[in-house]
Symmetry: C2
Subunit: 352 residues, 2 copies
């Protein structure tokens, strides 16, 4: 809230007022009963995919770095990204909100505006939710989608020899967070080697991440290496997940679930050039591997399919390494400048 | 926590330890990926039904009245009750948890034990979830179920002349809550006219409410008044919801959504006799109408079908009134002891 702003708070409009307000954001015909009712047609051979995320004020977002619109966008995007990571298209989300009595009504409206802005881009509806009083603002989103059973992307399906594809930049979201946490850096930007447009790009990456649902139709149209004329997903064999908890974490999870390891070439990682110039290559690498919240897909698939995929996605998508029989995640350097080292998971985000 | 108990807290076992613990409660094969993937067979003509509830420590449950097991049971039961209110059978739930670093691990285990105890009775799985750090314990459950589209129970389908059926006792949950909030009453119970078994019945009603999914197969087998040989739900025409926010609230919501009113006969309301004896008929009536959390179904259907339903359900299920053309909810007394009065919704539970 800006000082002097005199917006009504939730205690003023009460539960009925709040529900009326929120219904404006929900799919017509879906809300107003005990539960949302979605007609699913042609369900044969498809699975329902469900994911849930809880975001807590002061833990996952804060007024300092996140406007209510951005908190809404990010909450929706994180859930859609989980659906994309399963190969699933989105059906709808439901939203559970814990709010304080003195939460400004405008805060809730702005949250929903950000959420629906994201959802509209991916043709996804809000199917309902719940609002309750809480001493700390809490956003609990559950998203559901559908996937052809044979096209489900799981973590445990990687095979030694597979190439590892990363669909976009890593490190940018963390860079944006750091810029938001340190507004005083803006003053010294003119002295630093970070341009205003790069700065905006990083902040946008943090505030408005884009779930990679757009990757799915490309995956569905990859040629099968075994039968080049058909586009048979399950014949190709794709494993993967999203990089919301960090690129290193994603590689670890895929490798572990598949009983394999991985060799990653640091020279191939899609790290924005402006980031390495700004904070140095080692910090940029650290942010790319462990920063998290880039919401890209990390996929494991046969090399020829990986090359086709990267070509179709275009830069900065890249093949960054291979799945190995040996367990352990080894960071190599194809330029020869650095010696090999094994990555650890210790730097991943620990919730407690 | 009991004083002197030295249980590990979440900060001790970390996120990975917590996830390992929670996975024991989840359906095998459904957790471990970005989202849960549920195979739905024979989907033709069915709808996905989704409902979500957020429960906050100190607002919706407290250590004083609710053990972690009971909090878990109640959270699961409330969601299953919403599915039952739509006419839907349960498929699964996902659980989002906000927990403090110093939350005892045993608290979380006991929560899940209560939750799974309820879910097992209704053959429902935990399909996944999310755990995050929060300054206040928060439980966000999303349940999904399936319903034949023509058997969906909506609030807005009541018609003037319909009978209003209530599937069980009202006021018992509120009575249990009051007993838990006032343990000092236990001492004076011997002087009061409340027996120990009635006391236990009320507390059980509050701590372990039972979602009325068992009513659905009975509804499905009602004879159609128009074609007595077929059991055609949509031909009968059933409206309804659950009474989680109070019996008066349910009647108001159904009437409002249907553009009708209702006449309720106070002499017909299924209020436990022991409750009226204990607190007097007026307080018992108040708790029955406005106490909430009895989690029964409130249904509107043609009189002959209503009679068949009540006969099949047995006591204390009852026809409590009729849907009227005139809007307004009128409380009458068929014994003639009290004059008619109109109910207001003001006494319903206000979240903010």
């Amino acid at each position: 809230m800006q000082p002097g702003e005199n917006s009504p708070v939730l205690g003023d409009i009460g539960e009925q007022g709040l529900l009326k307000l929120l219904h404006q954001f929900c799919a017509p015909g879906l809300v107003g009963d005990d539960a949302a009712c979605l007609e699913l047609k042609d369900w044969d051979g498809k699975s329902l995919v469900v994911t849930t995320d809880v975001l807590v004020d002061g833990v996952h977002f804060s007024e300092k770095t996140t406007s209510p619109e951005d908190a809404g966008w990010r909450a929706a995007a994180a859930n859609l990204s989980d659906l994309a990571a399963m190969g699933a298209s989105a059906i709808a989300i439901v939203v559970g909100l814990g709010l304080k009595s003195n939460t400004p009504v405008s805060w809730v409206e702005r949250l929903y505006q950000g959420m629906t802005a994201c959802l509209e881009e991916y043709d996804t509806a809000i199917a309902g939710g719940d609002v309750v009083r809480s001493p700390v603002i809490t956003i609990a989103i559950t998203a559901f989608g559908r996937v052809d059973q044979e096209r489900t992307i799981r973590r445990g399906a990687a095979k030694p020899g597979d190439a590892i594809v990363v669909t976009g930049y890593h490190g940018a979201s963390r860079a944006g967070l750091e810029l938001l946490l340190h507004p005083e850096w803006a003053q010294s930007l003119s002295q630093s080697n970070l341009s205003q447009s790069d700065r905006n790009f990083f902040i946008q990456a943090h505030q408005r991440p884009r779930p990679r649902l757009d990757v799915l139709p490309i995956l569905q149209n990859l040629n099968s290496p075994n039968s080049p004329d058909s586009s048979n997903y399950s014949a190709i064999g794709i494993a993967g997940m999203d990089s919301s908890d960090g690129l290193a974490d994603a590689i670890f999870q895929i490798a572990r679930a598949s009983g394999c390891g991985a060799r990653i070439d640091r020279a191939k990682l899609p790290i924005p050039g402006a980031l390495s110039q700004w904070v140095g290559v080692e910090t940029a690498l650290d942010w790319a591997l462990y920063g998290g919240e880039d919401f890209e897909l990390v996929l494991s698939l046969p090399p020829e399919s990986a090359e086709e995929l990267v070509k179709k996605l275009g830069s900065p998508a890249a093949i960054v390494g291979t799945i190995t029989k040996d367990t352990g995640i080894c960071l190599t350097d194809s330029t020869g400048a650095k010696s090999d080292r094994y990555l650890s998971l210790n730097k991943g985000f620990e919730h407690f």
